[in-house]
């Protein structure tokens, strides 16, 4: 009970910060819209490539959602870096608060941001004529997959923030992993059109797991076995990432 309460309180702290910084809130909202429009315009021609099936907006929506989830949740660790620099982290760690709650609360907040952005993208995609064949349930799976993916990267980002204790490290890590993870997946390109080695690498890429689950559930006739398998993988990886981040507090304390 207490761990849940504490997680909720840490989450609220993050949510308050967002509310107090309208500029940041604005960016959170505008960013996904720009991404979808930009990618949509840029890659429209892709749908004319021989061998590509269907509408590119349908295809692109889950890809952009997941790309943005990694990008936006990846900054979560910045909060810990700020807390460390401000002395807030040491004060929190001197209290008996459950370390897992410090991670889980900020991760939940990162995932929440991803959910908002995902909903916005879905609405815009509908406006652009996307056909969500999976209906409401499919869209919910899309949102779930995005939230899980965001949570994984929020947790890993926290880990980096605690271990490296520098803004630059978090920025470096996000920019370093984002593009490779996007391009080593079927986020922007139909799997059958991907080179063989990328298709092989994609099997181990969480971004690809999320894209496949979301695309199958929301945009196609759902293959529930595949969806469950991919979501299961995401959940497992999230648990691992959360465990790592919770352990990272002890590593941080050893450096004090």
């Amino acid at each position: 009970m207490t761990p849940l309460r504490q997680t909720w309180q840490v989450y609220l702290r993050g949510a308050r910060t967002l509310r107090r910084q309208p500029a940041y809130l604005g960016m959170t909202i505008v960013q996904p819209l720009i991404w979808l429009l930009m990618f949509g315009a840029l890659f429209r021609a892709v749908s004319r490539i021989p061998g590509f099936h269907g509408s590119y907006v349908d295809f692109l929506t889950p890809g952009v959602v997941m790309m943005l989830a990694v990008f936006s949740a990846g900054w979560t660790g910045m909060g810990f870096v700020e807390d460390i620099n401000a002395g807030v982290m040491d004060r929190m760690l001197a209290s008996p608060v459950w370390r897992g709650a410090l991670n889980a609360g900020t991760v939940a907040y990162g995932a929440f941001t991803v959910v908002i952005q995902t909903v916005l993208i879905v609405l815009l995609a509908l406006g652009l004529g996307a056909d969500f064949r999976g209906g409401v349930v499919g869209v919910l799976v899309l949102i779930l997959a995005a939230a899980l993916l965001g949570a994984i990267f929020a947790s890993l980002s926290n880990c980096i923030g605690l271990l490296a204790r520098q803004r630059e490290s978090v920025i470096g890590a996000v920019t370093f992993v984002q593009l490779p993870l996007t391009f080593l997946s079927a986020a922007l390109m139909q799997p059958s059109l991907l080179p063989g080695w990328i298709r092989a690498a994609a099997r181990f890429n969480p971004v690809n797991w999320a894209v496949e689950a979301a695309r199958s559930a929301a945009m196609q006739r759902a293959d529930w076995g595949l969806v469950a398998g991919r979501v299961g993988l995401l959940v497992a990886l999230l648990l691992l990432a959360a465990l790592l981040a919770t352990r990272a507090f002890a590593a941080y304390q050893r450096s004090l």
Binding site: Q6, R13, R20, D90, A94, S95, P96, R254, L256
Partner: protein
């Protein structure tokens, strides 16, 4: 009853290598205020961080409120309060939000929490600013918020790392009163670090001077001062140039370092108060009139400079003379 804080042979070396602690020994009785003094980099904050479970020593052991901080840090955290050298409050949040979150971290919830938060906002003069972001607070208000947060769960042992640094004189005195009240009325044990001698002198029933990771002196302030064995005696003479007066005094038992400077006669005595009658009697026998006599007890500054003054003396040699 075991002491509130007991540390033995605490050692810690940071990569570099920087030896931050080299065998610190501390015993602090319950309900007392203990001051840890020392120059920059002496190891004060490191000692506090070890005792409040933030970091682990390479060697040594420590108990706080009867709990082994190395073996059972979680239990220790429940009974200690910490106010670090840096600010600990979240400046983006309001004073009230900071206190509420702090309470939740200690498992205080619901109406009990609400009530405690109101009380502590009142007690630290933050009620009017409770719903403003802490970043709009003055330095003194932020410090008070830090301390209110450290006290919210009513700890049995409180660590204050340089609590009054950056406070104006009035705010310092107010905080001193609060610290005294906590020790006297709530039987709280308080370990504070400070650079201010007057602060240690006023608050602490016992103090330790730490230098380069080692405790170089410890005891009650009075005891440490008397160990210096040298009250200063200053006598204003009615007439100047009484050279024989100095010579006569120098022959007295327990009087040292007699110096005549115009009409001012200075000397050192092991116990100034006790020496005064015989000093005055001697002067009278030589027909010398004194207009004023003062006895100055050695100050904690003297104690500090004697034990940890190396670096200080090298930089500012005139200070050592001024206090000698």
């Amino acid at each position: 009853m075991p002491p509130a804080i007991e540390a033995s042979a605490l050692s810690k070396t940071y990569p570099g290598p920087v030896v931050a602690l080299a065998g610190v020994e501390l015993t602090i009785a319950r309900g007392t205020i203990f001051a840890l003094l020392g120059p920059n980099g002496a190891g004060k904050s490191t000692t506090v961080r070890v005792l409040c479970t933030l970091t682990r020593p390479d060697r040594g052991s420590a108990q706080v409120a009867g709990v082994d901080v190395l073996a059972d840090p979680v239990s220790a955290r429940r009974v200690i309060g910490v106010v670090g050298q840096k600010h600990g409050a979240d400046l983006e949040a309001t004073g009230r939000e900071n206190l509420v979150l702090q309470g939740e971290f200690y498992g205080i919830v619901g109406r009990g929490l609400k009530q405690r938060v109101e009380e502590s906002l009142d007690r630290f003069g933050l009620a009017a600013a409770a719903d403003r972001q802490a970043k709009t607070y003055s330095g003194g208000m932020q410090r008070r918020l830090d301390i209110a947060m450290g006290l919210l769960h009513r700890p049995r042992v409180l660590f204050l790392d340089e609590p009054t640094t950056g406070l104006d004189p009035e705010a310092r005195v107010a905080l001193w009163r609060e610290i005294e009240r906590l020790a006297a009325e709530e039987r709280m044990t308080i370990l504070l670090t400070t650079h201010y001698m007057d602060e240690a002198d006023r608050l602490a029933s016992e103090l330790a001077i730490i230098d380069r990771g080692q405790i170089v002196a410890r005891g009650a302030p009075e005891q440490l001062k008397s160990e210096l064995q040298g009250d200063g005696i200053q006598i204003e003479l009615a007439e100047s140039e009484n050279a024989n007066a100095g010579a006569a005094l120098a022959r007295l038992d327990g009087i040292r370092e007699v110096e005549l400077d115009g009409r001012t006669l200075r000397a050192r005595a092991r116990d100034g108060g006790a020496a005064i009658p015989s000093v005055l009697a001697t002067l009278e026998r030589h027909g010398i009139k004194a207009t004023a006599v003062t006895v100055a007890r050695p100050s904690l500054d003297d104690v500090y400079l004697r034990h940890a003054g190396r670096a200080f003396q090298a930089e500012q040699p005139e200070l050592e003379e001024a206090s000698a």
